[in-house]
Structures are given as C-alpha cells and as structure tokens.
Symmetry: C2
Subunit: 412 residues, 2 copies
Amino acid sequence: MNNLGLKAKKAGREISRTESGKKNSALLKIAEVIELSVDKLIAENAKDLQAGKANGLDAAMLDRLALTPKNILSMTEGLKQVAALPDPVGEITDLSYRPSGIQVGQMRVPLGVIGIIYESRPNVTVDAAALCLKSGNACILRGGSESIHSNQAIAACIAKGLSEAGLPTESVQIVATTDRSAVGELITMSQYVDVIVPRGGKSLIERISKDATIPVIKHLDGICHVYIDDKADIAKAITIAVNAKTHRYGVCNAMETLLVAESIAEKVLPALAEQYLEKGVELRGCPKTCALIPGCSTATEEDWLTEYLAPILSIKIVDGLNEAIEHINHYGSLHTDAIVTEDYSKARRFLREVDSSSVMVNASTRFADGFEYGLGAEIGISTDKLHARGPVGLKGLTSLKYIVLGDGHIRH
Amino acid sequence: MNNLGLKAKKAGREISRTESGKKNSALLKIAEVIELSVDKLIAENAKDLQAGKANGLDAAMLDRLALTPKNILSMTEGLKQVAALPDPVGEITDLSYRPSGIQVGQMRVPLGVIGIIYESRPNVTVDAAALCLKSGNACILRGGSESIHSNQAIAACIAKGLSEAGLPTESVQIVATTDRSAVGELITMSQYVDVIVPRGGKSLIERISKDATIPVIKHLDGICHVYIDDKADIAKAITIAVNAKTHRYGVCNAMETLLVAESIAEKVLPALAEQYLEKGVELRGCPKTCALIPGCSTATEEDWLTEYLAPILSIKIVDGLNEAIEHINHYGSLHTDAIVTEDYSKARRFLREVDSSSVMVNASTRFADGFEYGLGAEIGISTDKLHARGPVGLKGLTSLKYIVLGDGHIRH
C-alpha cells in the first residue's frame, strides 16, 4: 500500500500539470481499449459472477456485479462524455489589483491523490478513474472483493490507454488484494492520499469515516422531503410527489417523507394516496393523515428518521411552512428537499432556510443528480457541509489556491 | 458543553437567516459596548495578567495577553470593518436553465456552528465572533485559560451588543470553564458543531486534528520559499528576499528557505548575505552556498523541514526551475511560495506547478494575509487542500448548496 501511495503521489504531480488535450486523449484511448476488450472483460466478469453465486450473493448483488455489452458501452460513453467536459484545472478567477499594487486571484487546482472505496459495481472503476484523471488527480481504487477479476481487467484497459496517451499508468491504480486491511491502510496514509471518497451503503461509509485520518467526502442518508404548501398548485403537487417517490425506489434522491400543509391536506392527500396505493406504496402517516387515508398505518418517530429506499412513504400533516422547515432541518439528512408552492415569499424562505445540499421549488427531488445539474458526471453526492455539498463533479475534486502577481512588490 | 452545543445549533439556525443589516447593526452595537467598557475590560485583564505573572508566563506571552486602550481600539475597528464587508450569505451564482427545463444554481450558506479554540490572545475572541456572526454562523469560543477573565468580560460585551440588536445571545458563546476536558468535548460534538478552527501553535493544532471527529480547518507549518530564478531581476530579487525574511520573523508567511538558481547565485547571494548579516539573520546553506558566503553554516536535512519563526534562513542553490519546484513540493508546507523571475514561461509554470495555498510571482511571501488579499479579515490561514486553502475569510466560513427552480417539473 505504501508503494502504491508513493507512486500515486508522483503520478499525481505529473497529471496535475498535464494539458487538457492530453488528458482527453487518454480518456478516449481508454474507451477505445475497452471497446476492443469486451470479450475479455465479460470473461473475467464471469469468474466474479461464478464466485459470487458460489458465495451465495443475492440476485440484486449479482445484477450490480454483471458486465454486459450494454453496460460496457455505457462505460465507454461515460469516458467520452468526461473527455468532452471543460477542464476545471488551472482556471483563474477574480484576479484583481489590490491597493498595494499586487494582483490577487484564485486558481483551481487538483486535490492530489484520491482514494475511492466502493462496493461491487465494476463500472465505478471506470467512472471514478475518468473523473479523477480529468480533474488532474491520481487515484487509488479499492473495489469490492466480489469484483476483483472484473476490476483488474478494467484496470488493465485503463493502464493501456494511459500508456498509449503517454501518461503515467500509476495515475490510476487498483488495490490488487482483497485483503480488508488494505482499506485500513488506504484511509490512514495521509502522507500520500488527500481525500477519500467512499461509495456504497451507509455502514461502509460510517465505518470509513470513523477510522479515516484523511478527509472523507461522504454521502450518508438521503431522507428527502417534499412539502406541499397550502398555496401549492394541486396538479403540480401530485405530479411531483408521485414522481419523487415512485420514479425509482432504491435511490438516495427519492422522497421518503411527504409533508402537507393542514389546510390543503384534505384536497390533496386522498387523490395522492390513490396513486400511491395503485403503485403499491405503503403509507405510514401521522394521526391526522391516517384520518384522511384509509389503510394508512401510524408512523412512529423512527419513520421520520428512516431512509426506506423502498415503496414505503411516511406522511405528516404540518401547520404550515415554519413547521415544515423545522421538521426537515430536524429529521432530514442534508440531502434534497422540495417545496411545492405558488407563493413567492414562501418559496424564497424555503430556499434560504432549508439547510440541505439541494433545495428545490416545484421540482421533483429526483433531479438531484450530477447529470441533471449539468456537472456531466458525479463521483457521489455529498451530505457534508464543508468543501462540496450535493452532487460532486469535477469541481468537487479540485480546490482553489491563491495566486499573487507582483513586480518586485514588498510589504511595508 | 452539550447544553452549549444545543443552544448554538438553535441560534445558528436563526443567525443563518438573519438579514445583513441586522447582523451589521449587531457588530456595530458590540463595538459601541466595548468602547464604553474599556475600563472594565482593562480591570478584568489585569486579573489575568497578575495570575499570568504569578504562574511565570514569559514576557512575550504576557504581551500577547495584555489588553491596552490601543488594542481595544483595534478590536472595535475590526468590528466596524467586518460590518462594512459584503455579506456572503445567500449569494446565488451560476443559476441557469437545464435541458429538462429546471433552473439550477448555487447559494452560499453558513456552515452552522463553528468551534474556535485559541491560545492566550483575547482579541481573537472579538475577531472570531465578528467573522462567524457576519457569515451567519453561531460560534463556541474556547480561549486559553490564561485569558479567562478578559474573555468573559469581552463575551459580556458581545452578548450585550447582540441582545441590543435583537439577535440571540447564544450566537456567540464562550466556554466558561478552564477545564481541559471541555476542548475534548467540543471537538467531538458532531451533532452540534460543524467545523473546528484551532488557532495557535502547531502542537495545539496537531493535538486537535488528531482527536477531533469534526472537520478541522487547520494551519500547520509555514515553511515558505522564495526561488530566485536565473532570469530574475537582481534588484527585485534582493528586495523581495530581504522583505520576505526580515519584515517580521515570527509570522507564518515569512520566508524560511531561499532557493537560488546556480547560474545567478554568484551575482545575488553575496549582496543578499550582506543585508541579512547586517540585520542579524543567521544563514545556513548547502555546500555551494557556504562556498559563496563566508560565515554561512552548513544546513542539515532538518533545516529544509524547519519553520524557524526566527532570524534564521536556510539557503539552497538549485539547478533551476525544476529542482526549485521539486524542493518546494517536497519540503514545503503548502503555505506560500514565490518565484522571482522576468521569464514569462517560468512564471507560468511556477504558478501552475507549485502546490501551495498561495503561489506568487515577483512579490514577497509576506503578502499572504487576509487583509492584503482583500478578504477584509481572516479566521486563519489554511494549509489544508479541501474546502479552503490560504487565508480564510468570510467565504471560508460558508459553503454552497444547490438550488433548483421548477414549475411542476418531474424526472422522466
């Protein structure tokens, strides 16, 4: 691991000063190599799938683990998209003269070496490598042990692409061992690694955050809320609340709790409940909600704190905006929360006062996503408050340093 | 401590949505109250000074601890300056339409609750409170135990000013106990505190970073370099190198190591050495440097890694730009480094490739400072790579959340 770190740091220095054109050509070369290696990748992946089956992985996990011609194509398309994104590195902003005569500005720079720890999906190997490379960072990738053959085959493609483009192959390194202690080393090598990005379930992320001595960009719960205000347009409210819950269930930006202003509840909840029940969504409500919706079970305190990631929804009737904001700031997870309202002042207050990484007016929480936001791709969604909040794209993998231009200026 | 945290979190919510005008009027009220309390402050400070003398504090520490009419005036001027700065909170940037029809932008928001741990200087109490308040954050301040009476007297002024302005007095809280375990609690109350800013010596900061479970904005060493390139203007080089070392010795942005291109060393070093020796600066050089400067002692490996904070300078003759950049990135502390050159391409490379929070061309490292950069004031200088690098002003105490505006938009 130490050797990996040392090499990554060295490669990181080189990649940090590499021109955009060269980085882009490396990304395209990697895509080319992957396109030529589909059979090999699928063969290596078959070993992982076979081992996975033997080890009793469930169908969902095997599905995430599988490489198919279709998801290999989406990997190479991802590489081409990242190549097409503007390079954030070296951008200089706010360069202006100070009274002393010096010019002061800020330059966007890579973070250095990024350690990425993820679970079984092998496509993360390519996505993460592409984002790190484009943002001028070296990376050390530690995928799930279930996908070790797939990841090593992908890593070989990446290394070939890098080398064909004349970039150091150590810019992207895969931890070749499935030994768990490697993770422990990776997250404490502060002399080599600048930031850790864990991707996976909450327990993985909590474990890593607890033990890491390096800053972690983390994504914990997605307890997202939609608040239907008394001044909501009912048609919009229903469309958004249905989309936010039922578009996909297992995603972090799905709504988990619906808040409804008391004075509009009677008009909106029965119609909404009908659509949810039709889609098989289990409803758990506060007593007032239960009185309006037959078949709704009573929500417990625990429900307001739960990310179901499933066709379950908790519903609470609130007095109005103040109680809604208070509920979200208390029970929410700083992820994504939306208000549905036609009221200008309430929209303005909700945007300012809800302390989440994405705050929305009259839009589905499902939009909280790097592609939808125009970041091109994301390495994850941060629920931290420092550095990067919300979808983390190329900029989230960089920082700003100050630059000062003088002409022999000294301080008096 | 728990109670302090709970109150801070509540006050933080209120202060985060407080209008700029009200925050500014609180800052000015606090200044007013302090102006009316000079005698009281000096009397309370006298208790600390007396105890400090009895406990054998040295003259430098007593000097930092002392409140005088002059430094009280500079505290109130600081408050007025912060009041005059633009409010960073709520600023919306990059709001633009996406193909889906939603508008996506970013809003600058406070971090929440900031814990500040500092050593004996009581003026930090006012400076830190002012920056946190203006940036919409609540803060919990833990000053050195030597200044407990002074800090409590200042805290009373702050509380009075806040309350006269109609803001919650819990926005700024002082840890009233000198018990060391309070620090341990403060840096692990992740449910209440969002970030820790330690201000003080390296050992304090290292200790806090090690034990904190909350993100820390830290300032470790300031091992700053000036590199005199072979294309340097010799007059500028001498002026800058003298200023960077001798303007003040005990500051983090003073030069600690001078690098000189071999081909210009003979022309610049003897003249420079003369000025340093005149000012009583001890010189420690590489063998080539020692050959050029009589009386220069030989530098050890340890010297390149040392922040002297004293009239001592290490000097190394390097081949040229590549070796200079390599030396800085290897031995430096990511703080501030400068090149002196008239060569456009070398200046361009130095700016891009030196990985420090401030990188300068033809200017003294002494400019690395919040006031000089136009930030108005600083809570510290960060040598971290995430979140904020270099002088941390109001913006460094905020973060960006995404805002999304739609009109019933859902994801397809």
